[in-house]
């Protein structure tokens, strides 16, 4: 009973922060002045010519990004997780850094590199620089930025799933064939559902991305939704504009549910500490190290260096501090509160899904994943549609809206981390506590949580980072005068000096990395205590 009530409360909260806002937004698109109408949709399709190019651009960008990221992420995941490549852990951490901040910061980095007065102006001939700069503002630039930003998703998933492969299967393969064939016919097919899941996730994330395409002037469909809303405050038009995107997202998720769901779960690591077999690279060690280092330099070191260099002006940092210290403090507080609530909600959602504790476990899983893959702007518009009413004005005007946005968008992350963690906690631990007479919440507090502590801390950490980097939803729902740092940077981009923008971006990146380092050492301390 205790378990059922707690989990039902979590589901209800998820519905309130995630599903109802979407319903409210689409409700406003079909009910105008108290009458049921499909007018806004008719208008949308009547102006098809105007809308098809951004839809085409969105699909092209998302497909190319997902394809490139999958190829690159899997290759790097294999090299860094499955071979004896030197410095592989350092390189894996380095290549994961772009995931820590919003993609638009990477776009700013590349702008600083390739602009006519950019960092490379004395290194590259003017005509080449002009050509590269031209590419940056368009599909190639957008693609490169999103590939750099989302590549870590597939790489990290590949690393994670490689740990789930039973080494005995590979040893059986090695008795018949050499490593390349074993990798091709045993290892890769085993982790294929996980890789495909990563590819799908990246497709949906790229499809919903707003910041980077907007900065790089590439007309994509999510920007259309944002424009409809921010320019005309028209919920109906925004909902109608979002409907093709929602349809694609639902279709892709239905595919994932139908063909990958159970298989992805089966790949959860179940034996912690089991040693993974490594492929000896032999004479390819040095060339492979060089290739990966070059890629890491091009994707991470070079753009971040450009950001730091372009921020080095005498007044940039003091001005950045003056203009955004309050936003930074708020970002940290919002992210800490958001991460804590995400950890709690994600834990219970993960527990619900893992134990199939309620009949609607599948719906909960689908809803969290859907909300994660939807553009943040859509969630923001939905939250405004639901809460901007006289009766709920007190809540609408508070920072609670930002926290609601975080909960709606990122519960999938903490719930998936909990799922993976609970896969490593034998069910018998909780059952043994149950047999002693302990009620459910006591079992969770004294047995399951301590046993899953590293996963819980990881969920908090990842929740914190994603809340800290959030732009899409928080940009629309923050209360007046209480913006977050990513939103402040984005606002200042319109007329702020490039050095100021770069300094603000450096501050955001530094704060994220410092938080990560502190919490990483906390995780290690917990690990060494066990």
């Amino acid at each position: 009973m205790e378990r059922r009530v707690t989990l039902l409360v979590v589901v209800v909260v998820l519905v309130i922060v995630g599903l109802l806002p979407l319903a409210a937004m689409f409700g406003k698109s079909i009910i105008v002045d108290g009458r049921l109408t499909l007018g806004v949709y008719e208008k949308l399709f009547a102006n098809g010519r105007q809308h098809w190019p951004p839809i085409g651009n969105s699909l092209t960008l998302a497909t190319l990004t997902a394809g490139c990221v999958t190829l690159l992420g899997v290759s790097l995941g294999l090299l860094l997780g499955k071979t004896d490549l030197p410095l592989r852990r350092t390189l894996a951490v380095l290549l994961s850094i772009p995931l820590l901040f919003p993609p638009y910061i990477l776009a700013v980095c590349w702008f600083n590199l390739l602009a006519s007065n950019g960092v490379l102006v004395h290194v590259i001939p003017a005509r080449t620089l002009e050509l590269l700069s031209g590419w940056l503002f368009g599909l190639p630039g957008c693609l490169w930025v999103l590939v750099s930003a989302f590549m870590p998703v597939v790489m990290i998933l590949t690393l994670f799933y490689l740990h789930a492969v039973n080494p005995r299967l590979e040893e059986a393969g090695m008795l018949i064939a050499r490593w390349p064939a074993t990798l091709r016919y045993v290892t890769l097919p085993t982790i294929l559902p996980g890789i495909l899941f990563g590819g799908i996730l990246v497709f949906l994330l790229a499809l919903g991305e707003v910041g980077a395409p907007m900065f790089l002037r590439y007309a994509v469909f999510p920007v259309e939704t944002l424009t409809q809303f921010s320019a005309f405050y028209d919920f109906g038009a925004a909902a109608a504009a979002a409907s093709p995107l929602l349809a694609v997202t639902l279709l892709v998720l239905a595919f994932e549910r139908r063909y990958l769901r159970e298989k992805t779960y089966r790949l959860r690591p179940t034996t912690p500490g089991r040693r993974m077999l490594l492929v000896p690279l032999g004479r390819w060690r040095v060339p492979a190290l060089l290739a990966v280092s070059l890629l890491a330099t091009a994707m991470v070191v070079l753009p971040l260096l450009a950001l730091v260099v372009s921020s080095l002006s005498p007044f940039a940092y003091p001005e950045a501090w003056n203009k955004a210290a309050d936003s930074l403090a708020r970002s940290l507080v919002f992210a800490a509160v958001g991460a804590t609530l995400l950890t709690v909600f994600g834990f219970f959602c993960g527990y619900l899904i893992h134990h199939r504790a309620l009949r609607l476990w599948r719906a909960v899983d689908t809803l969290t994943l859907l909300l994660f893959t939807l553009p943040g702007t859509l969630i923001g518009v939905g939250l405004i549609a639901l809460w901007n009413r006289p009766a709920t004005g007190f809540l609408y005007a508070s920072a609670g809206m930002v926290i609601f946005a975080y909960l709606a968008q990122y519960t999938a992350l903490s719930s998936r981390i909990t799922l993976a963690t609970l896969g490593n906690v034998p069910q018998s631990l909780e059952e043994a506590a149950q047999m002693t007479g302990a009620p459910w919440l006591a079992r969770i507090a004294y047995v399951v949580l301590p046993a899953a502590l590293p996963g819980v801390i990881a969920a908090w950490l990842i929740g914190f980072i994603f809340c800290l980097r959030d732009l899409g939803a928080s940009m629309l729902v923050y209360p007046a005068g209480q913006d977050t740092l990513p939103a402040r940077i984005y606002t200042l981009m319109a007329n702020g000096a490039p050095s100021l923008i770069s300094a603000l971006c450096v501050i955001l990146v530094a704060v994220t990395l410092i938080s990560l380092a502190i919490l990483g050492s906390l995780l290690r301390a917990v690990g060494s205590h066990r």
Binding site: E431, A433, Q434, M435, T436, G437, P439, A442
Partner: protein
Amino acid sequence: MSAIELRAVSKAYDGRAVVDGISVSVERGERVVLLGPSGCGKTTVLRLVAGLEVPDSGAITINGSPVAEGGRNLVEPERRHIGMVFQDLALWPHMTVSQHLEFALRYDIRTDLAHRPARIREALEMVRMADRAQAKPGELSGGQQQRVALARALVANPAVVLMDEPLSSLDLELNRYLRREILRLHAELGFTLVYVTHNREEAADIGSRVIAMRPWQDRPPHI
């Protein structure tokens, strides 16, 4: 009155009957062994008695009180006052040996708060683990872990104790030694024991009665 009674109990997973209409009665203080190969449903029977699984049909009573009937649990596992030793022992990695026993007594309303430390000391001495009270499971040998699991199952003085292949991962010498320990504890405390194993020698040694079960592929469970 029987300590445990199962009447026409069935349980299926994904449409496959694992336990099919089993009826069995266990008397108080009896040592009953469920013997059979993997997949014959003996662990499922144990989990049904514990309440960790819900029977699809049939009825289960413990000490005369119905605990499961008509496809639902009437009494939740945490309220059945049953001690259980799991196959993987299920020791909590973050707790010391004495914390295991403290936790096992914390929700047992029958043990007075003032008597708990003495009860924990007794249980530790009973399984000869008093000198390792502050150790965590990771610091113990296989045999010591086994004894902690036994102490946890017995500390609240349950009338019924269920053991799910508790000795299967141990070498023969330790296995035989712990069998004698289980028999000693049973003689001292007089609980009703239901013991699951696939080892005939172990079954003959532990059981005052052995129930042989056959895999579902061959035919329904046969007693």
